[in-house]
């Protein structure tokens, strides 16, 4: 049975191995240079006084797109495995009628399914595990720059699913999903399409609805300062309401929600009716002369206004997953996907014995 599984899987496996090898070559060739550039740049700016923000900004801007492209490989790989390894695994046999040939050799269907699921499923997890490991190693400098330059969180949807161990959980699940749908639909192409639809839907749903609550998020009320303000808009001209926002105090946190609260601790959508915050005069009016350069950072010329805001008691209440929750969240999310994969596999065995012929 192992031989047959290997023989049937050989072509698809070889193709994937070739693609993975090509990726590995690209990563190995370009990775050390990238890491070198980053560490040299950091060393240089540290030697010149320690402010590396210009360097990381530039580094992140330069490598952002390649970084996204390489990371997206890990993001789409589980779906591809579900579609091209999972869905046809049984559907193709049922479609072509070859199950009637193979189930009448001296091997029970249960063993047949166990070997197929086990070997190809293991290969799926291994391929995605290796791929994501390589990509994570390669992207390390870009990830660091992203956190430093843009305060990007590794727990946020695009990055979280391409780092750590979660991709392996996705791969196991996508594969089991493909196999199950292939068995139920008995036709390869519809099974592939439905696998993609359900997998993507579930990925989005879990990232948006489940992951934020896997661990109780941290709540904090922070002062709005020039260094953390990320939104400052007067709506509707002079005396109009003011909308402000601020980031979490910690770097790399995934902010789930943020509200401005007034002195009494009540959440407000916008700040209205405060004369001292008028955009035309006082602390919040634009400076007489435009600043010579922007180097001070975007929030710097808001400093007097934000100080006035603080005096009036306005603060920002944020709910977020701190960067330190990355690994606990990874383990939990991987566990969820693995449990789903096991449940689907169990269903496959049950269905195969009861229903399929």
């Amino acid at each position: 049975m192992i031989w047959l599984t290997w023989r049937q899987f050989r072509a698809a496996g070889a193709m994937t191995a070739a693609a993975l090898a090509a990726l590995a070559v690209v990563l190995v060739v370009t990775g050390p240079g990238l890491a070198d550039d980053y560490s040299t740049g950091i060393a240089a700016c540290t030697a010149q006084g320690g402010d590396c923000s210009n360097f990381v900004d530039r580094f992140f801007r330069d490598h952002r797109n390649t970084g996204l492209a390489v990371t997206s490989v890990v993001l789409v790989l589980p779906a591809l495995i579900g579609i091209f390894w999972g869905a046809p695994l049984i559907a193709r046999e049922l479609d072509a009628g070859t199950h009637r040939l193979v189930w009448n050799q001296s091997v029970t269907r249960t063993r047949w399914l166990a070997v197929k699921l086990g070997l190809v499923g293991l290969a799926a997890v291994a391929v995605v595990g290796l791929g994501s490991l390589g990509v994570e190693w390669w992207s390390d400098p870009i990830d660091k720059a992203a956190v430093a330059a843009q305060n990007v969180s590794r727990i946020e949807p695009p990055l979280f699913g391409a780092r750590g161990i979660a991709p392996m959980g996705y791969a196991a699940f996508a594969f089991a999903l493909g196999v199950t749908l292939g068995m139920l639909l008995r036709r390869t192409i519809p099974a592939m399409a439905l696998t993609l639809a359900i997998f993507v839907g579930l990925q989005v749903a879990i990232a948006e609805l489940v992951r934020p609550h896997l661990i109780t998020p941290t709540r904090a009320t922070v002062e709005i300062t020039p260094s953390n303000v990320d939104e400052f808009i007067f709506l509707g001209g002079p005396d109009g309401p003011l909308q402000v926002g601020a980031q979490a105090a910690e770097q790399g946190a995934w902010v789930l929600s943020g509200h401005t609260v007034d002195a009494s601790g009540r959440a407000v959508e916008t700040i209205t009716g405060q004369r001292s915050l008028s955009p035309t005069s006082g602390a919040c009016a634009p400076p007489e002369e435009p600043p010579a350069q922007q180097a001070e950072g975007p929030g710097e010329d808001l400093a007097p206004c934000l100080a006035e805001l603080k005096r009036l008691g306005y603060r920002q209440r944020v709910t977020y997953q701190p960067a330190s929750h990355f690994w606990p969240l990874q383990w939990r999310e991987t566990a969820i996907y693995t449990a789903l994969a096991i449940a689907l596999s169990g269903f496959c065995f049950w269905w195969l014995r009861r229903r399929v012929s």
């Binding site: 047959l4 070859t98 009637r100 050799q105 001296s106």
Partner: protein, 297 residues
């Protein structure tokens, strides 16, 4: 003698439609059994039940004394060539032989390779490129080289041209003689089975209409021709299977153990095809008021 296939009250329902109902059968070992019936009569259902591809809705079926497909030992005893003789399109003939060798402890590799060579199949050829007849031969090779005690074939020649049919059946018979196999073979054409079978099961509209050794069946059925009369006046031991009348003449087909003495009849023998067709027609005429025949021994 042990039974190859024994079924009690076997039935299979798909939704509200019974594909096979109330099937009670006892097929003795060492026979080449022909399972014949029109399309959609339930032949494939019965054979799939026998190899465990389907589970019965009612009743039980045993093959060589065991429940179908319950374990490797049971699977090893039963060879199956499924309808349309499926093979793996992308695998070569050689791969199929290796598949057989890997999946069957009793695999007779010399036998398989000898057959493939004798049939003139190219080992490197992909199964998807084989002709229908060659594919059927490959599937049969897999079934035979597994060295089962019983070989079950579902319409193996349905898609073959007359010459390939003849070759396939001839080859099958050689394998049967050589390896002392019991065989169950289905077809919707009596002529396919006539040459090779010694036991017959007629399945019509999901029910077994007739089953028995062909010699016995032919010996107990007679065609009577005579002046026009009511078939109801025949002796009680002569069961009328079919009757037809012209203005002056009546022809009846009867089943009887006893010789026919009535001088008014001219008595004729039946061919297998006539016999099968009579039972198929009999079924469509008055299935409601005539119970299916008991198994004949």
């Amino acid at each position: 003698m042990t039974s190859v296939v024994s079924a009690q009250g076997l039935g299979k329902r798909y939704g509200s439609r019974w594909a096979l109902s109330d099937c009670t059968l006892d097929v003795p070992a060492g026979r080449v059994v022909g399972l014949v019936g029109p399309n959609a009569a339930g032949k494939t259902t019965l054979l799939n039940l026998a190899v465990g591809l389907l589970a019965p809705t009612t009743g039980t079926i045993e093959v060589l004394g065991g429940r179908p497909a319950t374990g490797p030992e049971q699977l090893a005893k039963v060879g199956f060539v499924a309808q349309d003789t499926p093979t793996y399109e992308s695998l070569s003939v050689e791969d199929h032989l290796r598949l057989g060798a890997h999946l069957n402890p009793g695999w007779d590799d010399a036998l398989a390779r000898d057959r493939i060579q004798r049939l003139g199949l190219d080992l490197a050829q992909r199964a998807g490129k084989l002709s229908g007849g060659q594919r059927a031969q490959l599937a049969l090779t897999l079934g035979v080289a597994k060295r089962p005690q019983v070989l079950i074939l579902d319409e193996p020649v349905a898609s073959l041209d007359p010459l390939a049919r003849r070759e396939f059946l001839q080859d099958l018979m050689e394998a049967v003689a050589e390896h002392e196999l019991s065989v169950v073979l289905s077809s919707h054409l009596v002529s396919d089975l006539e040459r090779v079978c010694d036991h017959l099961i007629v399945l019509v509209a999901s029910r077994v209409q007739l089953a028995g050794d062909i010699d016995t069946l032919l010996a107990t059925h007679r065609r009577l021709t005579g002046a026009r009369r009511d078939p109801g006046t025949l002796p009680a031991d002569q069961h009328v299977i079919a009757a037809s009348h012209t203005d002056r003449q009546t022809t009846v087909l009867v089943r009887t153990e006893a010789p026919i003495h009535d001088p008014a009849w001219s008595v004729g023998d039946l061919g297998m095809e006539d016999l099968v067709l009579a039972y198929m027609r009999e079924d469509t005429r008055d299935r409601d008021n005539r119970p299916a025949l008991e198994v004949l021994r």
